[in-house]
């Protein structure tokens, strides 16, 4: 039997991802959850206790530089991703990095250069790539079930995030310096990564608009919408917001129109439907959120143990962030951005 991979979780800021990763780490056979760090003493201590983690610290370096650690999951706030993942890479640790990759392209490029030099594995936490209803849609597109993809509309309406499970405040999620943006970047990186993944294509032009519709006092946008023209011709529109209330929140849908039919994905009900000349076929995939994080970790483990690249690379992370930044620039300047913008 292969030895277990020792994993540390670095930063609990994005607890929406960090906590399920912790949960799955504590359950999985192939890994050992041996360290956790976060700037908050209480949060780190409680998390370590809850999941039976031996080593915990309020100093990320204590975990990253620990010789016993093989790999780290970076779930600190976005503007720390470069510093922490590069430190990990320099120390020879494999990295699973939360989305978005960073707050700027310069910092994303810095990550890419460091992981090239250090030859560690780096995987972006783009969870849609392991979700069965998204995989189903990608398969249908690849098999030509709907012909050429003409246009895509992604609608993502979410609640304002909370800085901690029992907080009412958005905290760092609404701080420009730490998050690099607000209601648009938060989920649009997922939506945009899925687009690139579905289409195997890159964006040529971006036209976007952002606003503060409900939360006017925060320094980041709570609403964003943008249209993307891909090299091969597809036009995709992505709406991503923090402005919707229950019971319509969250609302997360993808509608893909092709020359021979269309596909809709309802992320919330885990349902993918194909409409074509023959009619309508719907596929439902019952799963728990934790299953998704388990699949992400399984993919990460496989990548570490084999020569297989992880399912989403640092380049994928950079590409999604490049698109989001182009949307912000487009919204600010009131003009279309042609990529690469810089």
């Amino acid at each position: 039997m292969q030895e277990k991979i020792n994993i540390g979780v670095v930063g609990l800021d994005n607890w929406y991802h960090a906590l399920p990763y912790c949960q799955v780490l504590s359950e999985m056979e192939e890994v050992e959850f041996i360290g956790v760090s976060d700037e908050s003493y209480e949060r780190t201590k409680c998390t370590a206790k809850q999941y039976g983690v031996k080593k915990w610290s309020t100093d990320h370096r204590e975990i990253i530089e620990d010789a016993a650690i093989d790999a780290v999951i970076i779930t600190a706030c976005t503007n720390q991703h470069a510093g922490l993942s590069e430190l990990a890479a320099i120390n020879g640790k494999q990295v699973l990095c939360d989305k978005p990759i960073e707050v700027s392209l310069e910092k994303a490029d810095s990550i890419i250069q460091t992981i090239k030099k250090t030859e560690v594995k780096f995987m972006m936490s783009f969870t849609r790539r392991v979700k069965p209803h998204f995989i189903k849609a990608k398969e249908m597109i690849q098999k030509g079930k709907i012909g050429q993809v003409a246009c895509i509309m992604e609608t993502g309406r979410f609640l304002l995030p909370r800085s901690e499970p029992n907080s009412e405040e958005p905290g760092w999620y609404a701080e420009m310096a730490k998050a690099g943006g607000g209601g648009f970047v938060d989920h649009a990186v997922h939506q945009l990564d899925a687009l690139r993944w579905f289409l195997n294509d890159e964006v040529e032009q971006v036209l976007g608009y952002t606003s503060n519709l409900v939360y006017k006092e925060i320094e980041v946008e709570d609403y964003g919408i943008a249209t993307f023209k891909f090299n091969k011709g597809t036009v995709a529109t992505v709406e991503s917001t923090w402005t919707v209330v229950p019971p319509d929140a969250p609302c997360d849908r993808v509608e893909i129109q092709g020359t021979k039919g269309s596909i809709t994905i309802d992320e919330i009900s885990h349902r993918t439907t194909l409409y074509d000349r023959k009619g309508e076929v719907s596929y439902h995939f019952p799963f728990e959120d934790s299953d998704i994080f388990r699949k992400m970790l399984e993919n990460f483990v496989t990548a570490i143990r084999s020569d297989r690249p992880p399912l989403a690379s640092a380049w994928d992370g950079r590409a999604a962030t490049e698109l989001v930044l182009a949307v912000y620039q487009s919204a600010k300047e009131g003009r279309r951005i042609t990529l690469p913008a810089r």
Partner: protein, 374 residues
């Protein structure tokens, strides 16, 4: 049935096309509805799909009006339709139709480019006009139509009748009752597989730029632009947009468009309109501070999801018929009662302006600010 036939060679430049024999799609069962009071005499200019599917059967149905004449540059087509529907005269030149003294009003059912010249000529002949949507292909044309109606003191209505649909009447009531709170965003979409499927024999003009002005944005886009402006009681301040030819390489005009409309109140509306959508789609979602309203999504129905103690979802009943009734009856009545038409040309000029702005944003890559005041 007695029928007088007038015909002349068309000298005005044709506006209809192709295969007249396959044109008749609707049978005229309602021809003999009794007319009360003074009977308005109506002329139909252009007898393509929209005339045969909507204008002719609807005017046959209403009280107080009858169709006196039809006109189409293809003689066989004009004749065939006149015979099918028991209409007294047919013409190949609309100017001859307009010179019928007993004619009170006309329906303009031609390709978009001809809306303005024919409407203006009709107004100048003292005829009331119901003009198919979109109002025109340019704002200048739209204004000339408005001016012509004004100076001749005739009614000019645009056939943009979505707001007569019961589902939207109920939806607007729900909005105005405040059930979903203040509106934040709107998402609206309307698409089908293209005019060549909707109107296989006569739909080809839709792809000719000089006849159609723009593609799906004018054909379908203006419908929902008009609808959303009406829902929100608000006007568009600025737009960004993208129009494209995605699947119909033979087309001179766009088959797909996305517009992001920023209203003066700050509300954002995402409009998606398509001629490359199989199966067809339509739907409008209005997101408010207290809930979300879905209309026509995915079928003709209404759904409200409201955030409250029970986070309930409701499906209000939609009556069979709208409160305002048949828009063609309303047009006839507005002439008789000297009322302002339900869908004014001024109103539809604004919808046209939004569509043009989306196209301009796509062309220039810039945010376009709208100019119309008030």
């Amino acid at each position: 049935m007695s029928k007088t036939v007038k015909k002349k060679i068309d000298t005005s430049g044709g506006y209809g096309i192709i295969d007249p024999e396959q044109e008749v799609m609707v049978t005229s069962n309602d021809r003999n509805v009794p007319k009360e009071g003074r009977v308005l005499k109506i002329g139909i200019i252009g007898v393509g799909a929209i005339a045969q599917r909507s204008h002719i059967p609807n005017f046959q149905k209403v009280n107080g009006a009858e169709i006196l004449a039809v006109c189409d540059p293809i003689e066989r087509k004009a004749k065939l339709v006149a015979e099918k529907w028991g209409i007294k005269y047919y013409f190949t030149n609309y100017k001859d139709l307009l010179s019928l003294d007993e004619l009170d009003a006309v329906s303009v059912c031609t390709p978009n480019y001809f809306h303005a010249p024919i409407t203006i000529d009709a107004c100048d002949k003292g005829k009331h006009v119901l003009c198919e949507k979109p109002i025109a292909t340019t704002l200048e044309d739209a204004q000339r139509m408005i001016d012509a109606a004004k100076r001749n003191k005739v009614k000019l209505e645009i056939g943009q009748f979505k707001k007569f649909m019961p589902v939207y009447e109920v939806g607007k009531e729900i909005l105005e009752e405040g059930l979903i709170g203040d509106v934040l965003t709107v998402r609206t979409k309307l698409g089908h597989s293209g005019p060549e499927d909707w109107s296989p024999t006569t739909g080809k003009w839709f792809f000719k730029k000089w006849k159609t002005g723009m593609g799906v944005l004018l054909d379908l886009g203006t419908k929902h632009i008009s609808l959303i402006r009406w829902f929100l009681n608000d006007e568009v301040e600025s737009v960004i947009g993208r129009v494209d030819i995605l699947t119909k390489a033979f087309s001179e005009v766009e088959d797909y468009a996305v517009g992001v409309l920023k209203f003066r109140s700050g509300i954002i509306c995402v409009l998606e309109t398509s001629w490359c959508t199989k199966p067809s789609f339509k739907g409008t979602e209005i997101v408010g501070t207290k809930g979300t309203l879905f209309m026509d999504y995915p079928n003709t129905r209404l759904e409200i999801r409201i955030a409250n103690k029970i986070n309930a979802t409701f499906h209000p009943e939609i009556p069979e018929e709208g409160k305002k009734g048949n828009p063609f009856q309303r047009f006839v009545d507005c002439i008789k009662e000297d009322r302002i038409p339900d869908v004014t040309a001024e109103d539809e000029k604004r919808s046209l302006e939004v569509a043009l702005a989306i196209s301009k944003s796509s062309e220039t890559g810039k945010t376009v600010h709208l100019l119309l005041d008030n």
